[in-house]
Structure formats: C-alpha cells, structure tokens
Subunit: 419 residues, 2 copies
Amino acid sequence: MKYSKLFGKTIKDSPKDEPSVNARLLIQAGFIRKEVAGVYNFLPLGLRVLNKISNIIREEMNNTGAQELLLVSLQNKTNWEKTGRWNSFDALFKVKSRYDFEYALGPTHEEVLVPLVNNFVNSYRDLPLKLYQIQNKFRDEARPKAGLLRGREFLMKDLYSFHESEEDLMKYYTLMKKVYKKTFSRLGLDAIETVASGGTFSEFSHEYQVVCESGEDEIIYCPGGDFSENVEIIENPEKLENKQCDLGHGPLKRVKVVEVGNIFPLMDKFSKPFNLTYKDKDGKDQYVSMGCYGIGISRVMGVIVEVHHDDRGIIWPENVAPYQVHLIHLGGVHLSTSEAYNKLVKARVEVLYDDRKNVSAGQKFADADLIGIPVRLVVSEKTGEKIDPAFGGVEWKERDKDKTEVIPIDQAIGRLKTG
Amino acid sequence: MKYSKLFGKTIKDSPKDEPSVNARLLIQAGFIRKEVAGVYNFLPLGLRVLNKISNIIREEMNNTGAQELLLVSLQNKTNWEKTGRWNSFDALFKVKSRYDFEYALGPTHEEVLVPLVNNFVNSYRDLPLKLYQIQNKFRDEARPKAGLLRGREFLMKDLYSFHESEEDLMKYYTLMKKVYKKTFSRLGLDAIETVASGGTFSEFSHEYQVVCESGEDEIIYCPGGDFSENVEIIENPEKLENKQCDLGHGPLKRVKVVEVGNIFPLMDKFSKPFNLTYKDKDGKDQYVSMGCYGIGISRVMGVIVEVHHDDRGIIWPENVAPYQVHLIHLGGVHLSTSEAYNKLVKARVEVLYDDRKNVSAGQKFADADLIGIPVRLVVSEKTGEKIDPAFGGVEWKERDKDKTEVIPIDQAIGRLKTG
C-alpha cells in the first residue's frame, strides 16, 4: 500500500477530547476515528489490525473443534423476557419498530443461541457442540471514556459450548483456559488468568487480565503464576496484599488491570429457561450443561496499544501489526525505492510504502514511529551507495530497538519471510 | 467437515411460516434460521456462503483501487439532522440511550462517511478516494416476508467514491458498471443493468436486476442487452412492452425482477450539507463529487437460491457453494471413504463428508440434493469393486446433471482443483 493513497493519515495533534492513551494514539496515527462517545469507526489501518486479531482467535477456536456462525443483532424480545433479562440487563439497548414492537439490540447472545440450538439438539449424540461468532455487540455503558477499552459498540468473539454433563463441560473449560493463554500470547499480551465472581451467571468465572494503569479492575496475584484473584471476591484484600506466595515466588502484588477475556461455566443457567434438554443413553431428559467464552476483539486492540507504546507512538507486536514493514523513500533515488517496494510486494510481504514527495525525512520517521509497524526500511542515497549504486541496499530498523543496519533488500525480505 | 458434527442439519419439513422459496430452502437445508420477521441467523453453512460472496465482491472492489474500512452502526443523530433525513428516512431505526440521547441505527452510511472524509480531504491531491465496507445494515422495512430478499437486518457492501469533478466521478461510475456486471457474473447471477430513478439522491441511477418471479420490481428490457428501464420511470409502459428493439433483437420484454445492486451519481447531494470541499489547483474551494455503489450481500444469497434450485433443493454456483464437494459414505467400506476424505482434505479441496451411520442411502442423497453442493462423490461397495478393491473409486455426479460415472479419487481431485 502506498501511503500517499492511504485513507487515514497521521494527524499533527493528539485529539483533546480523548483521555485514554489508546484512543489518542490510534486516532493520531490514523487507525480509528470517533463517531460518538464509545463508538469508533475503523479506518483501513485499524480494520487490518482488527482482522489480524480476529483471524488468530478464529484459528484457535477452530482448533478446539468449534464452528463459526453469525447471529443477529436485532433479537427477539420474548426470549429476553424468558430469562428475565429484558428488564434486569441495565446496559440493554431496546429498539422500537415503527410497527409497534421492540427488539433487544444484542449485547450478548445466549437469548439467541440457546433457542436456536434447541432446534437441533435432541439426543446425547448431538453433543458436545461448540459454536462461536465474531460480531458487533451493543451496550449502553455508563462511562465510555476509555477509547476501545469500553465501547457502546464493540467487536467480540463469543463462544458457547454445550455438553452432556458438568464433567464434559469442565473438560472443555479446562482446555479453553490453555487456549486462552496461548491466544493472548499470540496477540502479544501477557494475560493473567484470574479467578473472579460469576456474577448472576455462575458460581465463579475466570478472567484474563492484563496489567495496565488505566484498567478499571484490580487483582491480587503472584508473579510466579500460581495465584490471581479479582479484588472484588477477596474478603480482606489489604491482608492478602504483600503476603508471601505459598510456593516461594515472593510477595503477592496488587495491580490495576483490564479484562481482555472471560469464561463462565454457565451449567444450566440458560438451559432451564429455554428447556434445552437432551435424551441420555437411558432415554431420560437431562438439561444441557453450557459454558461461555468471550474475548473483546476491539478492546484487545486498545489494550495492545496501552501496553505497547512509547513517547513516539505505537509499537505493534508482529502478529497483529497492520503491515509487516514500513518502507520509506528519502532523497533522489525514488526509482530504487519503487523497485524495493515491488520486490517486497512480489515476495508477499505486507508493506506500507511512504512514497510521499515534499515531506521531510523527519516527518516520515516520526509518522513511522507513530504508526508503529515492527520493521522500518529506508532507501536513500546513503543506503544506495553503501551496497550497490545500481540498486541499493536498505536500512533496517526495528521499531522497538535503536540499532540500524544497511543490508541488501533480498536479505531484508528473507528476514521478513522467516520472522 | 464431517456432516455428523455439523451444526445446522437439514430438517424434514419445509417451514410453514415462510412464503419465499429462498427462506424455505435455506432453512430446510440448514443455512439460516429465522430470529424474527426479516432477521435471520446464519448457521455455519450459511456463513460460508456469505463469506464466499463477500470475498468475491471484496476482490473486485480492491481491484478498482478502493480501500476497505469499517463504519459504525450507532450513528450521530446530529449528522442525520444536517441532511434532513432524521425525520424523512421512514425505515430508520432510532435507538434511545438510557442517558437521554438518541442514535440512528445505520441503514446506510453517508451521514458517517462524509463527515469522516471531511477530516482528511483538503486539496485536489487527496482525490479521488474510493472507500467501502462490508457491514450489517438495519432498516425498519414494511413487509419483510421475502426471506433474505428484504430484511430488517442485512449484510451489504457499500462503496462511496469522492472526486474532483463530475467528469472524474463519471469515469469511475462507468468503470463500476463493468465491475458490477463482472462481479454478478462471478456470483452466478445474470444481472441486467437497468436505468432507474435516482429517487431523492440523483437525477438517475443504475440498478442491477435479476429476473425472478418473486421480485418486487418490474423492468422492460431488450434480451439483446441494449435497453433496460425500471417500469417506474417509463411513462407509458404498456406502449413500450413488446415494441421491437431498435437494433433488431426482437420485442422488448416486461418481467419481474429483484434488485441485487445499485449505483448512484450523488454529485454534491451529501457534500453540500457537510461542506465537503477541496482546494483546486487555483486554490479555490470546490464541492467534492460523490458516487455510491451498493450490493446486498445477504440478498444476493437469497436471489441465487431463487434462480438456482429445482424440486429437490438448491443448486449452488461453484464460486459461492459452501463446499466444493459433498462426499457420501454408503454401506460397509467406511475405511475407504475416510481415506477419500483425507485425500480431499490434504489436496485442500473443501469437502463436506456425510459420515453418518444409520442413515439410509436415500436420505443421504436427498440431503445432498437439498444442500446443493455442485459435486457429489459417493464411495460404496459398488464403486470400490469397479476400480480397485483395496481402495476404490468414487462415483462423480454433478448437482445439475443426471449423469454419474465412477472414477479414481485422484482423478476426481484433479477435476476439483482445476474446475
């Protein structure tokens, strides 16, 4: 992609109406743009990151045998009345039709999926079943001031599993714990598995929490990895804080965190109101045991920016960067830069090419740092001379390091293909 | 994918509350399921078709130099007031927040994109610009009884182009006419380019209409391809009907059609209310000329079913079929079928494998016909004997033909890879 053509360029000043780091950087760098509080448009760079995050999650969910589908946003009010949530779900947007009836504007999808699954599950032979979607959710949140961390419209992966027994549910639940750790790690996040309240859903739940100064949750955890609890379920958090971990990993820490995922053993919480049962091997009706497993995809994008940035801009982890490499043209050897661009494109390296004329080297470097693509390649007279005057080498610099080196373009491509 | 595991199996009876062919067949075959009138959930098979359609459209839009982004559903009321559409857009859903303000629930995206583009366009150097998205739209339609043909929630590709001049706009508009013809042809649809009213948007528009008994529009057209107009803009349609075409292609025909796409030369219709201007080469402010270009993706899925089916079920065109091949296991040679399945998967052929036991051959064939995958492969004792008792051949049958033949599996794979 040529930067001169890209829709959504960097802007000079950081937006003044955004208190959060993620929204400030993402808007300034041209990834998102606010529509209204808590609702953001994704520009081409932003959509690329969203898609990369989604595809990693999709891959991990598919690997557990889950199937992807796509559920509706305009939901049947009757089913929300059956679960009692039509009136009790505070953040529910209700949409009135001009034809005198109402919909729930999907904040979550138990009320859609459980009746749907009921059409297809009759016998134990139809179980287990794991279904997920990647889809927009709508919630009338109280204080949407944290950019992508708390939106009124946001992209989510929600997976629901259906089992014969609590035992089978917990087997999958345990697998999902591992899958979640791996997924967040691929996304460049160190997510701490934390025991939390199940709220009105279940006895307990597990949250995946990322340490982050702007987070709204607090956990007490052992850096050795053997303990983490949400402060809201701890009776005397003050007493637990700084206590030595039983396994000798040192004192427990109390930190602010932001939740990027959660998993709930729902058991029969939703099977009961919808009478979701199956016939067991003896022909007896049993309630299906359910679990649900969420990851906030647009929120993950915000959290990545919160934890991976410096004074100059964003530092995208490789797996989710909008492009693999940011190629910059400087000075009078435009032709060679085009050749480098064409070589990269041909090698199927994802490249953003800053081909702008009449923009200073300083501005181009500042924009590259702000946008945060992991590798910067510069072609200039200097690099041309150093390697091969006819074609030229390129200056390789990684976003999170200071070192630069001049190498032939083919070597750069080799690194990018194996990296 | 093994059919025994697939979520969304065929059901015995066609749904009684669906008057439309597309909804009846798609529900019976396990592609979609109704939530409420005009709102459908997409099961795994249905999502695969939606994605195939989307990807073909995406490819064609990208080829014109357009960039994909993702706009919001919860839209700023102020911008809808600026265009006067907050009160005049009949099918607009208005969403109330509990915090005493309202959103428009996106039925279209001019009110979002034009102000957004205004942030980035200053000079003629920033033009032209072509932006599109693939995203859900919401419209409070009057009679959503036609399945996927008219939904209250539906998937759409909407592209908007921005130009220096009417001339440059019309150049892209003309290109898009060709691109639309090609796109629909890749989707298996014969779409007739039809001159239509521009409504409140523009002087005229072009619609892409597919001949279909259940369509709500009517056109008069020349089968030779040199004339087509929507009846609504023809003064005396009765006089035009059956008139000889000027180019000697025979009498004009009047037929019922369903619209799968439309394109509008918006000119400055939306640039004016948002003051979207640019500085021309002489430094003078000029209004940006706009066009918009829609394709109803979920509607396309419905129309494909309306025109490609028989008494036994759906007949998917190759490019949009959920799988390339439907493999059926019959009788006692399950092992060979598994081998065939593994070979197909290894060759990256998209295969749906009906591995069910205790289901009759008749039922399996009926399901395959209902689901409508273009090629059916059967492995049975019969096919095993004919080719190679150790491994067996497969019986090849195309959904839209009666002929069957037994061929080695490798030959079948070869055909599927080149087809």
